[in-house]
Subunit: 261 residues, 2 copies
């Protein structure tokens, strides 16, 4: 059976009008499906209002206890519940989940090596049976980028990684189509040219584009996650613009399609 797993980033969430359009498009994609969302700027803005400093290392947020409370509130509450309520109004029976809910995604607090990321979780286990049970009840999970550990702590978790982990776990039972939506039309061969979309990307091309500097910064961990999903049994992985999610899912003709060979 087919399952669509879609990840949206903060850029979709931060633009209310665009987000509503995305959710309407998402609602038209046939179930079973799962939505995984990032955080967006709201957590940073909320932290600022509360006088909590945001510290980023290599584009990753350092999550001390005060920041953990902020992301738990903002990602797990404000963002997640508003997405769920909007989806309900479009006829999608959404259910908001953090990893703690139903114990679906358990992680461990990242060990301190050179950087102490604080309350950040590295995913250990995804309960695909529990998630499949929800899908079979007609529900559409909407996952916030938060997980939990055995000791009862919430942990901040990267949404791209979470999408990969969920898609991979579900691939045991489903033919999974994983779509990473972001603000570009796909992976670009020329970062200066928004139309230079690579329609098909193989590992060898990926290495070449990294070496030339065409693929850089935040695209690298995203693509590492995307290729990992393919290697671990996900049937199809696409990276496309959030505004083209329907085309990407229904026709597979949008953005960049990843292939292993």
């Amino acid at each position: 059976m087919k399952l669509t797993v879609i990840k949206i980033g903060g850029n979709v969430i931060d633009n209310q009008e665009f987000c509503t359009q995305f959710l309407q498009d998402f609602s038209e994609i046939p179930a079973p499906k799962i939505l995984i969302h990032g955080g967006g700027k709201i957590a940073t803005q909320m932290a600022e209002k509360l006088g909590i400093e945001t510290v980023m290392v290599d584009g990753r947020r350092i999550t001390d206890k005060a920041m953990l409370d902020v992301v738990t509130m903002v990602y797990g509450g404000l963002v997640n519940k508003n997405l769920v309520a909007k989806l309900q109004s479009f006829g999608t029976n959404a259910i908001g989940l953090t990893g703690a809910d139903g114990g679906v995604i358990r992680s461990i607090k990242r060990p301190v090596k050179t950087v102490d990321y604080g309350f950040v979780g590295d995913i250990e286990a995804v309960d695909s049976t529990q998630i499949a049970g929800m899908l079979k009840q007609g529900l559409t999970p909407v996952c916030a980028p938060l997980t939990f550990d055995k000791d009862g702590n919430m942990l901040n978790t990267n949404a791209d990684t979470q999408a990969q982990a969920v898609a991979t776990a579900m691939a045991k039972e489903y033919e999974v189509n994983l779509v990473y939506c972001f603000e570009k039309k796909g992976v670009l061969s020329d970062p200066e040219d928004d139309d230079s979309v690579i329609s098909e990307l193989k590992p060898a091309d990926y290495e070449a584009h990294k070496a030339s500097g065409a693929i850089y910064k935040g695209m690298i961990p995203k693509l590492d996650n995307a290729f990992k999903a393919l290697e671990e049994g996900v049937a199809q992985v696409t990276i496309c613009h959030a505004g083209e999610v329907k085309q990407a899912v229904k026709e597979g003709i949008s953005g960049t399609r990843l292939t292993l060979s």
Copy 2:
């Protein structure tokens, strides 16, 4: 089949040590069970930090858009997810829900009569089939005092009323034991004497205690909800101290037991 529905108020949530003890006790109560929680002082404190004024009328919070965002964050995110993660660590497979999640509790924005309560929901429908489906999957729903409307809005909702509505809806399929936990040992015949617990309260006694002034203020809507649940098919309703929840559920010997005759 038996089902236990337990409501805890803000006083449990506000005291972290006591809350942990309560969650441990709750974990020892046999499933199926549902936990419904109030908000506590955190929303008011958070609103204050964010420069949002809290306005109460007759003990009820006026919820403008800014306050709705605060309660959605705090109740649906911070409070709910920390309860869920803690319960997971005690071996209870909890799943945090607002009314929007799975569409379990739908409401309508309260019509403006003399007071405009803002984004406050009056419950219209509880999807007992969806909730029963979760219970049958081995999950323990943990409900935040938030619902949603057909137009995709989140709505602030009184937790006592939500407990009554959920218990009543589930009574179609289960023999429901509803327990309201709060900071007193039960309903008191003398509000000055904490040991004057009424062990059994009938509607006629309730009227007499209201007339004498022994039962007043916030106890009145709580008891109105509690009696409504009994009238509408809930098998057993108890009001007790949160520290005595195990005794109340297992032996029915704690606090005040409500009866219709």
